[in-house]
């Protein structure tokens, strides 16, 4: 630790963020305002998640960073490098080996454990924002548990498209009280948030909000009795590892309309490929 304070942020900033994190855990799903700092990366590149990670990281942690499920994309690589440099923590691409996982919009396919923490980068933490632009009003709606508008939005999906067409940032109800934006994860991942053994923390840097889902907490995707919540399904398995139960990305392979579907979770996919090679 020569040129930076441990994990970049100064101690007073970390104290402030840590207090916000404790309140967020005590009030699951409620967005705690915090004095978000300027970070050496632009808003939209995970400044909220980075500040949360910096405030919870200890010297013994092993950090994994994923961007749309992948460990090797720009955002993931640069954040991993950032903490390697400023906190000198060990890093990994293997979900099982990580104690802290910072993620942009995916939950790993490998089930998480009690001794792991998942940190989400959140662009817009307010699930009601596109329905009601005024913060003064959305704050009241949360206070009065007035979530009718969200159900109207989902209903309008059904009346227009015949089904709920929201596929990411699909709103959830946390422990039967706060409606929460699970960050723009595909709705495929929503069921993994429910009763999860790992602590889930959410940081929104530009919007200056922190929220949390404690372990073993009820997280229910909003739906209707006659239009129950459903996750995406694919017609074909992953072309690389053959998994049928994972979230698949469409990859364009040439300029003649060629495409393939592969797991978005690169660690899970490469592990499955290695296993099947070993079995042969």
């Amino acid at each position: 630790m020569t040129r930076y304070n441990f994990a970049y942020l100064n101690e007073q900033t970390k104290k402030m963020i840590r207090r916000a994190l404790l309140k967020a855990i005590a009030i699951p799903g409620y967005q705690v305002p915090f004095a978000s700092r300027e970070m050496p990366m632009p808003y939209g590149w995970g400044t909220g998640g980075v500040q949360v990670t910096a405030s919870i990281l200890t010297a013994d942690d092993v950090l994994k960073v994923i961007d749309q499920g992948a460990d090797d994309t720009t955002n993931a690589v640069s954040i991993r490098k950032f903490f390697k440099k400023t906190a000198e923590v060990r890093t990994t691409e293997v979900t099982e080996d990580a104690s802290v996982i910072q993620t942009r919009h995916r939950i790993p396919e490998t089930p998480l454990r009690e001794d792991q923490i998942l940190v989400y980068q959140v662009p817009i933490p307010e699930p009601l924002r596109f329905l009601e632009p005024r913060e003064t009003e959305t704050r009241k709606m949360h206070a009065y548990e007035d979530y009718g508008l969200m159900h109207v939005k989902l209903y309008e999906d059904i009346s227009q498209h015949g089904h709920i067409a929201t596929t990411y940032a699909y709103p959830v109800s946390v422990e039967g009280r706060y409606v929460m934006d699970p960050s723009p994860t595909p709705k495929f991942d929503n069921p993994k948030m429910n009763d999860c053994p790992a602590l889930q923390l959410f940081g929104a840097g530009r919007e200056k909000r922190i929220y949390a889902v404690p372990p073993y907490t009820r997280v229910v995707s909003l739906d209707f009795e006659d239009h129950p919540f459903e996750v995406q399904q694919w017609d074909a398995p992953c072309e690389l590892c053959g998994a049928r139960d994972t979230f698949l990305d469409e990859v364009i392979t040439d300029d003649a309309g060629g495409r393939m579907f592969v797991c978005s979770d690169t660690d899970y996919c490469s592990k499955r490929q290695a296993e099947s090679e070993a079995a042969e």
């Binding site: 630790m1 304070n5 441990f6 994990a7 101690e11 007073q12 970390k14 104290k15 402030m16 840590r18 207090r19 916000a20 994190l21 404790l22 309140k23 967020a24 855990i25 005590a26 009030i27 699951p28 409620y30 705690v32 305002p33 405030s55 919870i56 990281l57 200890t58 010297a59 704050r139 009241k140 949360h142 206070a143 009065y144 422990e175 009280r177 706060y178 053994p197 602590l199 949390a212 889902v213 404690p214 372990p215 073993y216 907490t217 009820r218």
Partner: protein, 208 residues
């Protein structure tokens, strides 16, 4: 309590953290783990001498979380010179007498019902603007089917907890606190260097 006057003339009644950044990070992770898993007995581990009546655990909570932005209330038994000096010197916190103004209250025991109900529970718009109580107790145990059965977020099924040296009226008061969710105060019970956190979401059942 012996006060040491060092050569700079600053009376450092006790040490703060060695290597603040690393120690506070480690302590915070343990405190956060306690808050995320209510009822779990978490040992903070560092050996520190008590300051006045403030245990090592309470000191570490204060060093990790309190600063000039957090008004602190000390009860009359804790509010002696060495403890006040600890907060002024290490945390820079202002010390307040009005429970509703305190972000943290460090208490040598459970205060009376009037004071318990005077702490800030936050507002419907900002339920996070509430007091966190840090209460000294004698000890913890977690024998199955005894004492208190805790449930709620952070707890898989049920967690059993026994707390010694705590006034029974705290447990009578707690369900009222929890029933106001999302308003309410959160508590951290401390014995020596061990802590147990009780966020406002915790539901309690007393077992005979």
């Amino acid at each position: 309590m012996q006060t040491i006057i060092n050569q700079t003339g600053i009376s450092a009644s006790t040490a703060g953290f060695d290597q603040e950044a690393l120690a506070s990070a480690r302590n915070f992770r343990l405190i956060m783990d306690a808050m995320a898993r209510p009822g779990n007995i978490v040992r903070l581990g560092l050996q520190k001498q008590p300051v006045g009546k403030m245990s090592a655990g309470s000191q570490m909570v204060a060093l990790t979380l309190c600063d000039h932005e957090t008004p602190v209330l000390l009860d009359t038994s804790l509010g002696e010179e060495p403890v006040e000096e600890f907060f002024r010197f290490h945390c820079g916190s202002s010390l307040v007498d009005d429970p509703s103004k305190a972000m943290f209250a460090f208490l040598s025991g459970v205060p009376d019902a009037d004071m318990l109900s005077a702490f800030s529970v936050g507002t419907p718009a900002y339920p996070d603007r509430s007091t966190t109580l840090v209460i000294e107790v004698d000890g913890f145990d977690s024998q199955p089917d005894k004492g208190l059965a805790l449930s709620g977020p952070g707890i898989r099924n049920v967690h059993y907890l026994q707390v010694s040296g705590i006034d029974a009226h705290f447990w009578k008061w707690w369900p009222g606190n929890a029933s106001r969710f999302p308003l309410g105060v959160d508590a951290i019970l401390v014995s020596d260097d061990a802590i147990v956190a009780l966020p406002r979401t915790v539901k309690l059942m007393e077992i005979a």
